[in-house]
């Protein structure tokens, strides 16, 4: 065969092989539904992720190394990794009551250490540097990012098994949160100076709902007013999705973003289910994508792209797929039982997450601890929200 003909045959062969292989490639990475979700217990994949986290929180050296890696990029990740893991463990304890003892011990270790750090180093330890660049509107400064997530950690832990010391701390924090929300023109409190985040405010509202469940109090009226305000003032007219951040007076700072709206829809499932489902459907319409069977989520709707930042993580050119949005999409998909989307997202994570299995545990080298904890929460969420809704 002449060289020219050989090259031609090779090219034809490569084109045929590519056309055959690429559409089939995702099958090599696509997980079985049973590996991801389980109606009652904990499915194998989240069980592996949890095992690694539980091991990490009993190994000070590994924990220090992992937290240091994240803190070098973003101090918030250190804090959020704790929150998402604690919330996951609460859901897992309800899914597998026989394992509740181990889960409670781990939750207490995380909560105690977090409260200790907050006491000794202050809330700024968990915030980004710009927390001090301008004055906070509400005085004395408090971040709803920190207060809301800690309150939800304490509340979910007490829903699994009551603990007086945590209930006292929860009560104190909820009173502070409610006071600040009531005093704000937008019914929202600051996470950073004159910066309210939908992400943090819905977390705080869920913590209030948990506190109501535990104490028999009722803040339904405040929650209702917040939701009414959000529907009237915080919805982006172009997409219908809730904006990410706004001033204390309600003026928008950041438009809807994947790193926010998926997570917000998760909390709305507890606070206002129809509104939450609507947000989820809109997020799927504007942000979800799939390429050759590999699912992903964009940080911004098509045509409204912004600049890549610490919240979005890496944004792939072309598809606009964002690491953060794709991770947080897990939580929304898990909340609304969208198993097909979970499978599609996990296909991508299996292919490009660079999983590392050790001692029966699993972590993804492409991500970090907070990323793994977010995925774990998405694959275990459900029981706490169901319990709360049952009481509603």
């Amino acid at each position: 065969m002449s060289r020219a003909r050989r090259i031609l045959v090779a090219l034809i062969s490569l084109i045929i092989a590519t056309a055959v292989y690429l559409p089939c490639m995702h099958w090599a990475f696509r997980p079985a539904v049973n590996d991801l979700v389980s109606a009652k217990g904990v499915a194998p994949l989240p069980a592996k992720l949890a095992r690694r986290h539980l091991h990490m929180w009993t190994d000070p050296k590994e924990l220090k190394g992992e937290l240091a890696k994240m803190r070098a990029a973003n101090a918030e990740w250190d804090f959020m990794g704790r929150s998402f893991l604690t919330w996951s463990l609460a859901n897992m304890a309800m899914r597998e009551p026989a394992q509740a003892g181990a889960m409670l011990a781990a939750m207490d270790r995380i909560i105690d250490q977090t409260l200790l750090i907050e006491r000794e180093k202050g809330m700024r330890f968990f915030l980004m540097g710009y927390a001090d660049r301008k004055p906070w509107v509400q005085q004395p400064p408090r971040s709803l990012f920190v207060d809301g997530e800690i309150a939800l950690m304490l509340g979910m832990r007490c829903m699994v098994e009551d603990k007086t010391a945590y209930r006292v701390e929860l009560d104190r924090r909820i009173k502070e949160i409610v006071k600040r929300m009531e005093a704000s023109p937008s019914l929202s409190a600051e996470s950073y100076p004159d910066e309210c985040w939908s992400f943090c405010n819905v977390t705080a509202l869920s913590a209030i709902r948990v506190s109501d469940y535990l104490d028999g109090t009722d803040h339904g009226e405040l929650i209702g007013r917040w939701l009414a305000y959000a529907k009237a003032n915080l919805v982006d007219p172009r997409t219908g999705m809730i904006v990410s951040a706004y001033r204390l007076n309600g003026q928008m700072i950041y438009p809807p973003e994947g790193s926010s709206v998926w997570y917000v829809s998760h909390h709305l499932a507890l606070l206002d289910e129809p509104f939450g489902r609507e947000q989820y459907e809109l997020a799927k319409k504007h942000l979800a994508g799939e390429l050759l069977g590999f699912g992903y989520a964009r940080e911004w709707p098509e045509g409204l792209a912004d600049h890549m930042d610490v919240d979005s993580g890496l944004v792939l050119p072309g598809s606009g797929a964002s690491v953060a949005s794709t991770g947080l999409a897990y939580i929304a998909a898990g909340t609304y039982g969208d198993v097909e989307f979970l499978q599609s997202l996990t296909t991508s994570v299996s292919a490009l997450g660079f999983g590392v299995e050790t001692d029966g545990g699993l972590r993804y080298a492409a991500g970090n601890q907070v990323g793994d904890a977010v995925m774990l929460y998405g694959l275990t969420t459900g029981p706490v929200w169901r319990k709360l809704r049952g009481r509603k």
């Binding site: 065969m1 034809i12 490569l14 292989y21 990029a73 690491v323 990323g371």
Partner: protein
């Protein structure tokens, strides 16, 4: 061997011929010459990619890929480059290798068909 559309050789297997100017008589080789553009070449390319990936893996470069995804910060150019090389070889193994193997098989089938024709 096919030259100007006609077969002149008793050993017409793909990858068995030398390069020759059109119209020039080609001596039958004693041993088969290796061509990169051939089924065997594709299999060898695949093996090289797999070996490169294995080496990167043994060097522990997988641990650094977080740098590329902006989920960790190491501040080291060397680690960034190591992670980039690792990801390239990984993509080579999961994307390029199966395509090369499949293409090699298709190439062999087409070549055989052409030679018979």
């Amino acid at each position: 061997m096919i030259e100007n559309g006609k077969s002149h050789s008793a050993v017409p297997t793909s990858g068995s011929t030398g390069d020759s100017a059109p119209g020039q008589a080609v001596p039958t080789p004693v041993g088969r010459r290796f061509h990169l553009v051939s089924p065997a070449g594709m299999v060898i390319a695949c093996c090289l990619i797999a070996a490169g990936y294995g080496l990167c893996h043994l060097l522990g470069l997988r641990e650094d890929v977080a740098v590329l995804f902006a989920t960790s910060h190491t501040g080291s150019t060397g680690r960034f480059l190591g992670a980039a090389v690792y990801v390239l070889f990984y993509l080579g193994v999961v994307v390029a290798c199966p395509i090369l193997l499949l293409a090699g098989a298709i190439f062999a089938v087409i070549s055989r068909g052409l030679c018979r024709g």
